[in-house]
């Protein structure tokens, strides 16, 4: 099967058709793509390095955006209370937010899918334990789990150590909160597939169980898992922003979008609106685009909605 063949197949597919039909989805995917590119290239395209304290000059602090009175062309979106360029901070911040979101989803997909497969195949008490755990986890709001985990690590680790591992604490706590979704979907698919003829055939010719699960059954689950993953990515980004906004996420020295919003919040009343508004806009557009993509993916992959 050649690449052109794949492309041609894609162009002929229902997916492509429904994608092209909706300008909103096209816009959302373009925006998401821009975010990803900007996040990856942040060190090269950002006008300043907001992590370099040496380059900061306090006298530059509170410069308004370029078009406002007192603004300077040097800082397109103005500067924050430490003289950090807001545009650069947003670029680096989106990078942190996206990285945490993606890593968290990767973690919950891996955990959820593996546990779901295990539950579906093994059945019995293994399934009972895993699925009850998932049920329990579902009754506790994700943000609460994240807060608890973050709080525990904060107590256990000294502050300077915690700051350096803050990003992984966030990834783990958010990732841990979202696995039941994936486990349920995978288990459902597994239950539907595991007694079908091709699985039985594989079993008869002696294919090991793990390989049947991963190579034959799992591909059936990828569709729904992908849909959930996209929607959860938006949620994970927002969860990270909420935690950082509450001051339990990323430290001010390596800000995510949520941290930037927290910092800017203090200057809302005093009229320095740009410190908080631009990170908020960036966060809203990012999570909205990812969410729209997820919605579209769900509809496009659901044969009953066509």
């Amino acid at each position: 099967m050649s690449d052109t063949g794949t492309l041609a197949r894609l162009r002929d597919s229902d997916m492509w058709w429904s994608f092209r039909r909706s300008p909103l989805v096209v816009a959302a995917s373009v925006v998401t793509l821009i975010y990803f590119v900007a996040a990856v290239l942040a060190p090269w395209i950002a006008p300043f390095d907001p992590f370099d304290v040496k380059a900061l000059n306090l006298m530059d602090a509170f410069t308004p955006p370029a078009w406002a009175e007192g603004g300077s062309a040097k800082h397109l979106l103005g500067t924050d209370n430490q003289g950090r360029d807001v545009l650069s901070a947003i670029l680096y911040g989106s990078r942190v937010s996206l990285m945490i979101g993606l890593a968290a989803i990767l973690l919950s997909v891996t955990t959820g899918v593996l546990l779901g497969l295990l539950a579906g195949f093994r059945g019995g008490w293994v399934e009972a334990i895993i699925m009850r755990l998932a049920d329990i986890q579902l009754t506790v709001p994700a943000i609460l789990i994240a807060l608890t985990l973050d709080g525990v690590t904060r107590v256990v680790l000294p502050k300077n150590v915690h700051d350096s591992v803050a990003i992984w604490v966030l990834v783990f706590s958010i990732g841990f909160a979202y696995w039941p979704q994936f486990a349920r979907v995978t288990r459902a698919t597994t239950l539907a597939e595991k007694n079908k003829d091709y699985v039985n055939a594989a079993r008869i010719i002696g294919v090991p169980g793990a390989r049947i699960a991963l190579q034959h059954v799992l591909p059936n689950a990828w569709g729904p898992v992908l849909v959930i993953a996209t929607i959860e990515l938006a949620l994970a980004i927002i969860a990270e922003a909420s935690l950082s906004y509450l001051g339990v996420g990323m430290p001010a020295t390596q800000p995510s979008l949520g941290t930037l919003i927290r910092i800017g919040n203090a200057f809302l009343f005093s009229g320095e609106w740009w410190i908080v508004i631009f990170p908020v806009v960036a966060l809203v557009i990012l999570s909205l685009s990812v969410n729209l993509l997820g919605d579209w993916l769900r509809d496009a992959l659901n044969p009953r909605l066509r």
């Binding site: 900061l56 306090l58 602090a61 209370n81 502050k159 001010a252 020295t253 200057f267 809302l268 005093s270």
Partner: protein, 530 residues
């Protein structure tokens, strides 16, 4: 039907109005600031907001009025009757709020308590040899040699009831750094204008008017109830004031003062505070605990300290962080304190090139790394000051790892001498330089009860001698010379890097009349609610 309904509505309205009237009758003043009092034990923590809270329940022998002048508190008169003895005549007919009469025994008890090892007020009264009750209304305080400024120090020693303390087993102050929990930490019972009604640390503290208060005649109109809510987030604090959820904010963020002044129904009171903000350096340890320099202590080298001093652009901090609500400082004590002079209060020039040169000479051309411990809910814009300092020290190669914490963690960390570099602010309740020397500069010595907040390890025998001398010297001119000499030493040795003197702004609803206290410690018995 319609008539009936109207009648019901009318009745309901009447009810509501009467409720509203009775609420308005009991005048409640709701106030807020960023952090809570650390404890209700009046001798456990010598910290501004803690004292500000406790002084509503407990009183000292001498009080301070809004101009910070000494006025009779539980003592009516005081005078020296011998070179080493002060006589205090106590106010008659004073009762504690539980009804027991206040006598000289309570004074003796409280001073003994404040001298206990777990007390944070030992340095105030280290010169005291003996406190004697002559009769129920006369107390003699005997000092080691003459102490002309003893009355100033008594303003900070709050008086507890001996009977109450014994009953609740709190005859020793709470050991704050060991997180000890005693009855006196969440309960309080004194002679003051208020009684403690509810105490939820970090959530809410409610005080009700003390019906047996001796000063009811002198202070007839102070609010019936005080409700204190700590609100850590600066924007939330301002929002609470603007939306009318609180009537008084002690520390509105400086960037929002302009907005508050423009808001109808709100007003501000401003004054220069008797409080200076500075950095302290651990110059005494053989090796810094939180640094990449091993085997020696860079802060022990004066050139490094001076380099850091000269690398800090305090005018930028004033303009951008403090919004001009600060006065750059060369001394760690403010105008208004005896011994402060404008000549001494000159800063070394801000000069990054000179600072870099000093660093090179000291053997750190590439700098080093160190942790800076900073409170984030204590002083005006404290964390932002530390962030600014972090950036400025980076210019001379000092890589600062900023550790901002709540003051409930920051102060115990200092008290365990577990910091290499820290931000601290120092107010002077006695309005005399000796207070600064005895707490911050004298060689830390628990037995001598001096240097209890000297976390720098700084020790200068000459300065120790001067500080001890100025406590006893009765000749004013000689004493002033001692203070000036001691400041000259302190400035030259630089164990602390001065930043600025705070200006304070109290924001309040225009229903509140409240004179501003330059010590930033509101005593609401001087307040009024419309």
């Amino acid at each position: 039907m319609f008539v009936a309904r109207m009648a019901v509505i009318a009745a309901a309205t009447l009810c509501l109005t009467s409720v509203a009237v009775s609420v308005a009758e009991a005048k409640t003043l709701r106030w807020a600031s960023q952090g809570d009092a650390l404890t209700m034990d009046p001798h456990s923590q010598n910290e501004g907001p803690t004292t500000a809270m406790n002084q509503h329940v407990y009183e000292g022998l001498i009080s301070r009025d809004p101009k910070l002048a000494k006025v009779p508190g539980l003592a009516l008169t005081w005078k020296p009757i011998a070179p080493d003895t002060w006589e205090f005549k106590l106010r008659p007919d004073v009762k504690f709020s539980d009804g027991t009469p206040f006598t000289a025994d309570d004074v003796v008890f409280s001073y003994t308590r404040a001298l206990a090892p777990t007390s944070d007020f030992r340095s105030y009264i280290s010169s005291i040899k003996d406190v004697k009750a002559l009769d129920p209304l006369t107390v003699h305080i005997v000092t080691n040699g003459p102490n002309p400024i003893l009355p100033d120090y008594t303003t900070s020693i709050l008086i507890m009831s001996k009977a109450w303390s014994e009953k609740h087993n709190v005859t020793k102050p709470q050991s704050f750094k060991d997180k000890e929990e005693t009855y006196a930490v969440r309960n309080a019972m004194g002679t003051g204008p208020y009684t403690l009604k509810q105490r939820d640390p970090d959530v809410r503290t409610v005080m009700a008017k003390n019906p047996t208060y001796w000063g009811a005649k002198d202070f007839p109109a102070y609010p019936d109830e005080l409700v204190y809510t700590p609100i850590k987030e600066p924007a939330t604090r301002v929002a609470a004031l603007i939306s009318g959820q609180v009537d008084f904010v002690l520390d509105a963020p400086l960037q929002d003062i302009a907005r508050i002044k423009q808001t109808p129904g709100l007003k501000t009171e401003e004054t220069a505070q008797v409080r200076s903000i500075f950095l302290g350096l651990d110059m005494g340890s053989a090796e810094l605990k939180y640094s990449d320099v091993k085997g020696k202590n860079p802060f022990a080298d004066k050139r490094v300290r001076q380099a850091m001093y000269q690398a800090i652009d305090v005018n930028a901090i004033k303009a951008k962080v403090m919004r001009n609500f600060s006065a750059p400082a060369g001394l760690i004590t403010s105008p208004g304190v005896h011994g402060h002079t404008p000549q001494l209060d000159q800063r070394l020039k801000y000069d990054v090139a000179a600072a870099k040169k000093l660093m090179t000479e000291a053997g750190y051309p590439n700098g080093f790394s160190v942790s800076l411990d900073c409170p984030n809910d204590r002083y005006n814009n404290d964390e932002q000051i530390c962030q600014a300092v972090t950036g400025m020290l980076a210019q001379i190669g000092i890589k600062v790892d900023l550790q901002a914490r709540s003051k409930t963690l920051h102060f115990p960390k200092l008290q365990k001498k577990d910091s290499s570099l820290f931000l601290l602010g120092w107010g002077v309740p006695t309005l005399d330089s000796h207070y600064v020397f005895t707490f911050l500069y004298q060689t830390s010595d628990a037995a001598k009860k001096v240097g209890s907040w000297n976390y720098t390890g700084y020790s200068n025998a000459k300065l120790d001698e001067l500080a001890d001398g100025m406590l006893k010297e009765v000749d004013q001119a000689k004493r002033d010379k001692m203070i000036a000499d001691a400041w000259a030493l302190a400035v030259a040795d630089m164990p602390y890097l001065p930043l600025h003197h705070q200006l304070i702004v109290w924001s309040m609803s225009d229903k509140v009349t409240m004179p501003i206290f330059a010590n930033d410690s509101p005593n609401f018995k001087y307040g009024k609610m419309k």
